[in-house]
Symmetry: D2
Subunit: 413 residues, 4 copies
């Protein structure tokens, strides 16, 4: 057969490699769980679904003592729900800006009438613990009502040591609420709501939970729930108290997204079948492969401190002269590969590779090969083709695990 010439195509073929840090791939099993007709959300039997969903999400937060709320909405709504249910107008809060998402949360605080103390750091760095300690130490009047931190800055791939923040507050017996944005972390990396004594934690459906966007989750400690009885920032849709009244019987105060509730129950079942510890280990392994690939490409990881490097997203810094916007575009149009773009200050200077959600080694390796071809095409030649894939594959092979009972699982896909 003579080789045929290929030309531009009107349509992409094969599966899109979705490597953005959310929305993540929705497993067929979860897609199918959501594929159903609607049902009456006030029926006699609805509470079984309602209670199952409420129970499932608590497990993800690793929370037994508080309550986890399920809002039709997104993580952004979760931020607002956490703030408006537990704070009064003009309340002072500490917050650190180390990427776009922490920036947007701070912006929200201001627009809601709160007074955030904004701590800025270089993007790529983690929390300035010393400056935070100074503020806490000096706030003897306890004017600071909350410390709001992002667990995993999706912009930079920098993590936060939540237990360290908890210890800081404890050290000074400071009563500020500890609020955590865990949108791109919770479910994928260790997060222990009760054990770490977090007061409010927020996540969304379209990340570690492998669902489409459409649910915002807020987990609240008993202390936060108590606070929500009297907090004065106006809110109705997001009201903890309204939800509590309905949730107790397995209902919701307005029409819930029935398919997403079924999807949530199924997704958490998948995580439990694999085991949460195992899921976290898998995310670590997959991310470590990505990091080894980046180093093999002779590129920098945005997050400088290896101890803070995220297991759900790796932000890759590009050398001068290589345009990050072009990288994302070429990857998408030529290789059907969706990479995360550099955001705000990192726009054009970086791109992001997710290792979050329903992924496995071969998907990561295929994506890394796609990045290699893209980098070449965009003018970066500082590595030998295949070098990144080889580095990751070597690591994956060393840490390979064997799936037992493949079929039981596949039968459910």
């Amino acid at each position: 057969m003579a080789p045929l010439t290929t030309k531009d195509v009107p349509v992409p073929y094969g599966r899109n490699f979705l490597m953005v840090p959310g929305p993540t791939n929705v497993p067929q099993r979860v897609q199918n769980a959501m594929h159903r007709n609607s049902e009456d959300h006030r029926s006699l039997d609805f509470p079984k679904l309602g209670l199952a969903a409420l129970e499932a999400i608590k497990k993800v937060f690793q929370c037994r003592q508080g309550h986890a709320f399920i809002f039709p909405g997104t993580g952004t709504l979760g931020w607002e729900a956490a703030l408006t249910n537990c704070l009064d107008p003009q309340d002072q809060v500490i917050s650190v800006r180390f990427g776009q998402f922490s920036h947007l949360w701070i912006d929200m605080m201001k627009r809601l009438g709160l007074r955030p103390i904004e701590l800025d750091v270089e993007w790529g760095e983690g929390l300035p613990m010393d400056r935070m300690e100074g503020l806490i130490q000096n706030d003897r009047a306890h004017d600071i009502k909350a410390v709001c931190v992002v667990h995993n800055e999706t912009t930079t791939g920098v993590c936060t040591d939540i237990p360290a923040v908890r210890r800081l507050l404890d050290k000074y017996q400071h009563p500020a609420l500890l609020m955590v944005d865990g949108v791109s972390s919770i479910g994928a990396v260790p997060f222990k709501f009760d054990e770490w004594r977090v007061d409010l934690a927020v996540t969304g459906s379209q990340k570690a939970l492998m669902l489409p966007a459409g649910l915002g989750f807020v987990c609240a400690s008993p202390r936060a729930l108590e606070r929500s009885k009297t907090a004065k920032l106006p809110h109705v849709y997001m009201s903890f108290q309204d939800h509590l009244r309905s949730n107790v019987d397995g209902f919701f105060p307005y029409t819930p997204s029935v398919p997403l509730l079924y999807g949530l129950v199924e997704a958490v079942k998948m995580l439990e079948e694999e085991g949460f510890e195992q899921v976290w280990a898998r995310h670590h392994k997959l991310a470590e492969g990505v990091r080894r690939a980046v180093r093999a490409w002779n590129l920098e990881i945005c997050c400088r401190d290896p101890r803070l490097q995220s297991d759900t997203v790796t932000t890759v810094m590009l050398p001068q002269g290589v345009d990050g916007v072009q990288v994302v575009k070429v990857a998408f149009q030529k290789y059907n590969l969706s990479l995360g773009a550099g955001l705000m200050r990192l726009r054009g200077k970086a791109f992001r590779i997710s290792s979050l959600g329903d992924l496995n080694e071969l998907t990561i390796l295929g994506a890394l090969a796609g990045v290699e071809m893209t980098l070449r095409e965009c003018g970066y030649n500082g590595f030998k083709l295949g070098a990144g894939v080889a580095a990751a594959a070597e690591y994956y092979q060393q840490h390979a695990v064997q799936a037992r009972g493949f079929t039981e699982a596949m039968a459910k896909i």
Copy 2:
């Protein structure tokens, strides 16, 4: 074959007859449009979907001049978005309580710090136009900033003549914003945002749009959009201005529910293929059949004024001694039929039959037969079995339409 005895079953068989006024049946075609993996909501090509969805929902509102917002959320969120984007704290608004949903909206107004003037009527009646006129006429200072009306009270099946409210405001050249809750009406019965000069209209995905719950829609007139630039009720997630900035390029300010956007585009395509006028006519025809059945059962329709009887839901009053809670329970457990319960003041005294969404004559007739068996079982014998079905069938036969080109449509199911 000797007849076999039947006994209670662990599981229901056949399809659930979902006759609650939302969530409504999701057509297979719409279910399939939503059955997909996630995709990058910031990709180069995402705007085609984003713009298609934004365009689609405007058609449903019959709006050309304003902007229609798509929020991950529900109609309740839509209410709050309409209020918080366009009003200041302590603003005075007129609102009429004629069922549970108007009641809840008023409750929200108060909790958000507005000052509603609450007009109460008997449940089953429509707007007290004379009392409203008095208020408008006397408000020479224009302290009243908005008139908030429910287009279709899902509790009672009573409609509102929106053009009449518009005329009332015009008569006194009153500048109050006209806000309409069209959650259980828009898309199913005539609603003309531009022509009727509505300022803010709210609906949700799980009613006439035949989608699962999960999207709240708010349509805003140019005047409302202008007002939203300066309104002072705090809000971020629901911010019109944030959405406008992203929507202009086909994006959203946070992760949208991608499957629901695809579903929305498909659902509106279905409505357009049938034709909006035709969809409205169909809802009228199906509802009229239900009403004729109710009369044949010698029962009262909650909505006394025939001109105000809803084409999307019929609330049926039960005679003394017949328990509405029991009716809903028996219908569900014995006939796999989901009826709407009587709400609040009507609890136990009424039940509701929806004619909203993806239904046809035979589904209604099957449901009516189910109601007849249920009523019998619950002790109501004031009718001859089959009488309601016959009354509806007679009407449907007289108004039968013929589907041309069945296959083109079925090919897409």
Copy 3:
């Protein structure tokens, strides 16, 4: 609201009422079980699926001692597989023509080179047991190698008393194989392969098993399996022996329809959850409602002997002047109702209403109401509108069962 005029529509709305005796409605749960990517049918783990499917179909036949084959194909292929695997060219077989399907099977026998003894009866009647007895009694040389009977003639809605045929063969100790076409019966009405000592039974996926067409099933007794080792009618694709060799390890001799195997396992799980006895009782109840409706319409049921009336399909005779072709057409185009047409000799003179598969009372009642409107429209006025529905509803109400634990089931839909 002024009533709106309705006109012909380009597309049907609502769900098609599929009341033909196959293909039947596919439950959402079964549709979802089939919605998956392909998988390697020679993988290490495939046998778990293969064995589960083979086990499942045996339960449907109520067979423990023989083997049930799963062919990619239809019931027609099942007929041919039964014949070619167990007979030699020129073999004599007895067969009764009492409808289109028994006619087609006889036609196949002749084309395959067999010599059927064809017994004809009026359509609407059952097996001529006396004439069959005569043939068996006189065949002392045992030239007759098989007796081939249709269990449920889908054309006429007439059933066969299989145990009576068995007793007939036993009475004369005649070794002919007992072959049964159970395409439109097995799984829906009592059928007991082992207990009745059937030798070969055939069914298909698109009837009681609630799957799409695409699988033909043949159940073979140990005696039939033995016979298949030496039978000389040529066949390869349909070879029992090839399948046996692969099936023993859970494989198939060529690529199986993976989604259909998953669907089969799920469908049988549904039948088992309900209970086979209960499934049979349900079919009887639903069919009895249909029969009562037919009588209330003052129409004749094709099957004259009430003891032989089918619980899966009722053939309704039309009076002179009412065109059956028109009935089917009007029902489809005006009411989105798919009825079975009269076949061959009954073309234009009858139509058929199925009570087979995933149906419930309300679906039947809706369909009956559709038949009533259609009959009116086609010029038959010999009944009062609603009379058939009322007769069926009365029966259904008297025999209503209550579903316990609705939610567990709905959670799986």
Copy 4:
């Protein structure tokens, strides 16, 4: 974060990389087209679907003058249909055994009572054209009724030059029917039924057509159709004549697999949107990448003649001491990668990598990385990790194409 230990998992995570040469990946778009309730296959409107499906499959064969049959079944059934419809018992046919599938077809011929002249070659070689020429040349009596060749031996990845076989018959004006097994080729590589004057060609749904198994297709030339009127091998289910009688009106002689027909129409639509020439070019490109990887691993491709190397499957020979059964097992259990096993004579000595169906560069590259890890693990160290991926990636980058209008396509996924 401290690295976590990983251990064996009960369930695989992420997507299975399905790299067997059938069944191939079913695109979401095709899965959704098949996700539907059943419908009446004798309805007034069914022919639109029937005719669309019959038209679609003809395009795939590149046939205008003959007829293409759609059988519920598989390619194996297609083989049998081609033989039994056009040959008489004892007919002589030429056939070449160069892999398992050609072997099985020959076996079928014998069991059906034909007399194949069996030509054997080394596995890895193509057709022995000289020996075939000798047979044709010497058959002056035209006793040879058919020449049966496999277009693409899925066992060895060896192709056949069909036009060369045609020329051979023409050279001697030999009237034998030219029968082609194109199960793993048609739709993926150039095949031109009319232009090459093939008489009978067979394929199945689960290969290039990206559907589940369940449909066998046979394309017949006018000459073959003529022959089918009188051929004497017994057959009914597979009868061309029965199908022709029904197909002319858009129907089928027995219940068709409705979802598969919808899937077929959608799949062919996808192929047409991409363009058949483009689809062939894509398969060539993807396969060429695989071959370059194999060479970079210093392994042999089973097919020795580069001109005959298949673009749909590459059979890779393993060195002494590396067990092919183990390779397939490790790939599956450790990397969720499904490779084709070595078959019959190649069992344990080879494995196969498919490039057939709905695949793209990144999927192939991910799979190649998986093969590399697997080979390492199975004791083969004759290459540097990443070498195969790099070789393929280099080629893919050089031949990269850009997708225009991504979204239009994705909107349909």
